[in-house]
Symmetry: C2
Subunit: 698 residues, 2 copies
């Protein structure tokens, strides 16, 4: 895969009550809504104390948990990481850092291809728009959020009232603490928690390996196991004084290799799961949204490939985005194959009827049926909206779009604004809007032409809005004009519009700004429709969650929301095609793997590795698997042992884990990590970075 996600506004989240295929063989009399085995992405304020004690004889110590939480960071570009030294070093995946590596690269400095090592603090390269978040505190604000929604409010009013309540809480918190403050929705709307984050916005690149080592085996090996990848990168956070941040909390580093059966923990930010989904919601995913999304991804994959054919520099410009698209396409294909397996839906249907049967005993079944019915109705509405869009995927358009919306939102009171335009969100918003990352006009033109064409397909060529967009030209010709004439890639121009407000935006003759203005009403219309549907789902899932809790008690975990979670599991082998797959690989395996695939470019180790073969301790562990419950967004998560020492770095899930979006199983599904000892061995023996290796963990 790559367990990273692109940042997006948080969606409604739901309590899980699905477990794996394993359950198929259990009798009906057994509980079917309880979490089994090593399933779970737990909240740090509701950890699985009892389960860990019972299953693994592990007692969670509050200080242990707090230290792990405060050593964990979120990459707002879409991924996880951890602090690994007192002077600000941060460990994450190469593929999480790739966005930054790409933005720091140019025709003459290809960091993604060649990697990087800063020999001194002066050589550390500042990321143009990266924000890391460290979770400082959690507060339950459910009652306050719910009190903001009047009992007689319809979906439209409820959306506004809930948004206002959340914005007010965030604003107060921001003013009181100075910390980034996000109210997040949990258990599909049953809970609202206020998360306060320490922000780090001066983040610099220290070390990255070559892509050939980080993504060894390429798209073919992605989501496969055994693996031999050095998918790691080290950065450093700096304070406002421009000096390396002094950190109280960071992870110690274990020097011991991992053993089969060893208990490990993953502290990271799983992006989104859909385990509470009803049958109707999964059917919509299976028959509508996922096929639609896959068509979209394949389209963009081909487009980026076509651009890459232009030459070496074009290939470099397109690579990071192409990689992300391919990763998603492979992940979704696996997810869809699982959803299309009739056993998945049969399992889900069985669970629903058993749950309703259990509810019948308490006389709640009819009210609950309504919640299921409401969700089914919402899917029908969603299906109608699926092919309606007002968004154009181009960086230049996106900037113009945000400038246009910003001008309007700024005229509203803070608590009536769209979530990402509130005062509390403003700093992060502006950092992203004013990013100095390079934008490539040739690539933008190709993307825009394709988007205009896609837009025309979706709405039909005779649509009125299409006529306004194309102004009488074909998509390619129109895109060429827009790109030739727009100035939104000029930072000064952006600043002028952001500060100038509505009058300046209205007066602008920039064609991209005009395009964004043409699309604004449709964007707002569709967003409102979608938010109302989400509100209806939220209310229905909240009811279902309450019903499950009434039967099963608390102790479960909410669906993933790109908020910090703790997962646990064991280092564990598994059976595949009649073969036992051992949990750990070594450097020796990497050299064997490249030899076996001679002539396939994606399997060529970089020269640094080939040259160092004699120096490397070939028996050192390189990658390993465990049963911990992870998903996209967990990329870069630290894996720690009972002592809280770092033993690994999550970077992938195997092919059997791709269904974990909606169904956890530990029969074959495994999380894949780079081992901590492997990272240190590579730094010392391959990358001539012993000094850096020595700083780690202290």
């Amino acid at each position: 895969m790559k367990n990273s996600i692109k940042p997006s506004k948080p969606r409604s989240l739901r309590l899980t009550f699905l477990v794996g295929f394993l359950m198929l063989s259990l009798s009906d009399s057994q509980s079917l809504v309880t979490v089994f085995a090593d399933e779970g992405m737990f909240l740090f304020n509701d950890l699985p104390v009892k389960t860990l004690k019972e299953r693994h004889d592990f007692e969670i110590d509050q200080a242990w948990a707090d230290h792990l939480r405060l050593s964990s960071v979120r990459f707002n570009s879409g991924g996880s990481g951890s602090f690994i030294s007192s002077d600000g070093l941060v460990l994450t995946n190469h593929h999480v850092a790739a966005d930054t590596l790409h933005k720091l690269s140019s025709k003459d400095r290809d960091l993604i291809k060649n990697g990087y090592l800063a020999k001194s603090l002066e050589e550390e390269l500042k990321a143009p728009d990266l924000e890391l978040n460290q979770l400082v505190s959690i507060e339950d604000v459910t009652d306050r959020v719910n009190a903001g929604v009047k009992p007689d409010a319809d979906a439209e009013m409820a959306v506004k009232q809930r948004r206002a309540a959340m914005t007010t809480i965030e604003q107060e918190s921001k003013e009181q603490t100075g910390l980034r403050s996000d109210v997040i929705t949990l258990f599909g709307g049953a809970k609202y928690h206020l998360y306060r984050y320490q922000k780090y916005t001066d983040v610099r690149l220290v070390w990255a390996p070559e892509t050939a080592a980080a993504f060894f085996g390429g798209d073919a090996d992605n989501f496969e196991y055994p693996r031999y990848n050095m998918d790691a990168t080290i950065m450093r956070v700096y304070g406002e004084d421009g000096k390396p941040a002094k950190l109280e909390h960071f992870l110690a580093w274990s020097d011991a290799p991992l053993e089969e059966g060893e208990l490990v923990f993953v502290s990271g930010h799983p992006g989104r799961t859909q385990r509470i989904y009803t049958t109707a919601a999964l059917q919509f995913l299976r028959d509508q949204r996922m096929p639609y999304t896959l068509d979209f991804l394949r389209r963009k994959e081909i487009l980026m490939q076509q651009f890459s054919l232009g030459g070496a520099e074009e290939k470099r410009r397109a690579r990071d985005e192409l990689f992300g698209i391919q990763n998603s396409r492979k992940a979704y294909s696996g997810m869809l194959n699982g959803l299309q397996d009739p056993r998945t839906m049969a399992e889900k249907r069985g669970r629903e009827s058993r749950l309703l049967a259990a509810l019948a005993k308490s006389g709640d079944d009819e009210k609950m049926s309504q919640a299921w019915e409401e969700i089914a109705q919402v899917q029908i509405e969603k299906s109608k909206l699926l092919r309606q869009t007002a968004s154009i995927r181009s960086e230049l358009f996106d900037i113009a779009h945000r400038l246009v919306i910003l001008a309007d939102e700024n005229l509203k009171p803070n608590d009536e604004r769209l979530r990402e335009y509130t005062d509390a969100s403003r700093e992060s918003f502006m950092q992203s809007l004013m990013s100095e990352a390079p934008i490539y006009r040739d690539l933008e033109q190709m993307k825009l032409a394709d988007e205009l064409s896609r837009f025309t397909e979706l709405r039909g060529g005779d649509d009125k809005l299409i006529a306004e967009l194309l102004v009488g030209k074909g998509p390619r010709q129109r895109a060429a004009e827009l790109i030739a004439e727009t100035k939104v890639d000029d930072l000064e121009f952006r600043k002028r519009l952001a500060e100038g407000g509505k009058t300046v935006v209205l007066a602008s003759t920039d064609p991209m700004i005009r395009l964004a203005r043409i699309l604004e009403p449709e964007y707002r219309r569709l967003r409102e429709l979608n938010e109302r549907l989400e509100e209806r789902e939220r209310q229905a899932y909240a009811k279902i969650t309450a019903a499950i809790t009434a039967i099963e008690g608390t102790g479960g975990y909410p669906d993933a929301t790109f908020s910090l979670r703790l997962a646990f599991g064991t280092v564990k082998s598994y059976e595949q095609d009649g073969e036992t797959i051992l949990p750990a690989t070594t450097f020796a395996g990497a050299y064997d793997h490249t030899a076996k695939h001679a002539g396939q470019e994606d399997f060529d180790l970089p020269s640094s590795w080939m040259d160092a073969k004699e120096k490397v301790d070939l028996s050192t562990q390189l990658n390993f698997v465990c049963t911990a419950d992870i998903i996209g967004g967990n990329s870069g998560s630290p894996v720690v042992n009972r002592k809280g020492e770092l033993v690994g770095l999550i970077f992938d899930g195997n092919i059997q884990s791709l269904t974990s979006d909606y169904l956890y199983t530990d029969q074959q599904a495994r999380a894949v990590s780079v081992s901590g000892v492997g990272i240190k061995e590579a730094l010392r023996s391959i990358y001539s970075a012993s000094e850096l290796a020595d700083q780690i963990g202290r």
Copy 2:
């Protein structure tokens, strides 16, 4: 591009009355339904005698035309070619021959990559399932076909009666002459002609260059110009005695380079155009069918790429199909961009109203409006059927499917059978069904899994037919089972089922045969629905054609139907982005082009070219463009001069020509050819094939 098409049953065809964008500037008073400039794909029994005399002072001599017709051949694998020597040599494109090269290749003999040269007759390699057709005679059978359809027949009956009439004519002709006899539909159903072909089924490979030379520049250069491609291959037809066929008609070869402005002719088999389409039909293409087809192609492109990642042998197995998919994807993208240009539809609408205005004078406008309305109605029906399918794209499934249908069709009287199962079609059908071309189970499994998944997407996971197909498993698992257990790739098994008939097919426990039986009723249902819609379109377009003929007279040409046509044009430069593109390139340009794109694999000339650089006369013409009206299927067509001598070999159209499916223009659109002198130069100076070069043209 590649101007080849995959064979498919001929579709309904329509008289062209669209011309290029140039017409936009003409006043309304000018004729708008007449053919302009060098537009036209003319029937050999209705050649543009007057136009050629007036525009080019060229008088068509019947012997000249007959000789050209009899020197032209159709490749039933999808393309065109010509006889170029008295002892059976046939010239076509490398990309037309690629299907055969692929089938003749194995892990240890990669003809596509390395090319081939037979040093003697013994070394010529027999194609496993190739059929070439030489058009021997044309007979107008319109009255007989129409007499077969009763005036009161509804669409369902009309389909059957028309099919029966056509089958009877074909069967009689086959019995009388022994020749392959096809009744083809022209002018969208206004005309029916009986084409009699001499078949050649013993076709052998003589010479093919490396793909690096034939497809120099790869997907990036495809449909671009200037070009430098040796997209040529030479085969030889053999008689029933197993000796090279003695040919009376073959093309002489010109040794003179082409001059700007020179008149040339193209004799080949354009596959399908849609120039008679009404606005409603083009809207359906633009908003429905083409987006759907492009999603399909991109899906298959990614799939074949994924398979290719497996290694060098996987790459070889997938290459020919992948190439065809990429070629179609690029062509359709260009076509769609043209359709999405608002000027295209505005032009079309203008034409329709002017035509109706002209008809109003004769009082025919109301009846004609009905024809337009009927076509619009049919598009709505087509749109409903677009996502309904009963076909699974896999070679093994296709074999099973044909065996199942064959068993049922054989029980019917000949004139009631589906077109491809009649007695007259039987020889060609069986040659294809019993092909010894290799089938790769690993590739088939991946394709089948994807098809089962696609099928599930199209029908929804809860569909009853899907349940029967998947029998409770996920698509990938089900595909693995099917491939592991089927025997349809065994020729003896196929023969047993083909000969055994219905009883044997019903008794077969082969899972692929069972799958085909499950899908048979749905296949027949959808085919009937589609054929009825086509009949309704045929009748409506026949009316429109008659009305146009009443106003404009005859002399036009029918839309392309993969039947032999003559096009003409001049060798002509054009303007692009302010630059003049000269009509011909040279070998010197090829060496410059590879140097300019150093490091891009697709631009590496093969070693044969690099080694021969000193020997080659660098000033020799290599590729050239002309204004002749061509389309997919014309690939491999000979280009001849006034004297009927071969001067070139069509292999591509430039990017501006991609709209020619529905709109011809000669402002920038050009047909691209390999020059005849270039082929001889390459044979002599690069491929050490002087002996072969000496045989050509004599």
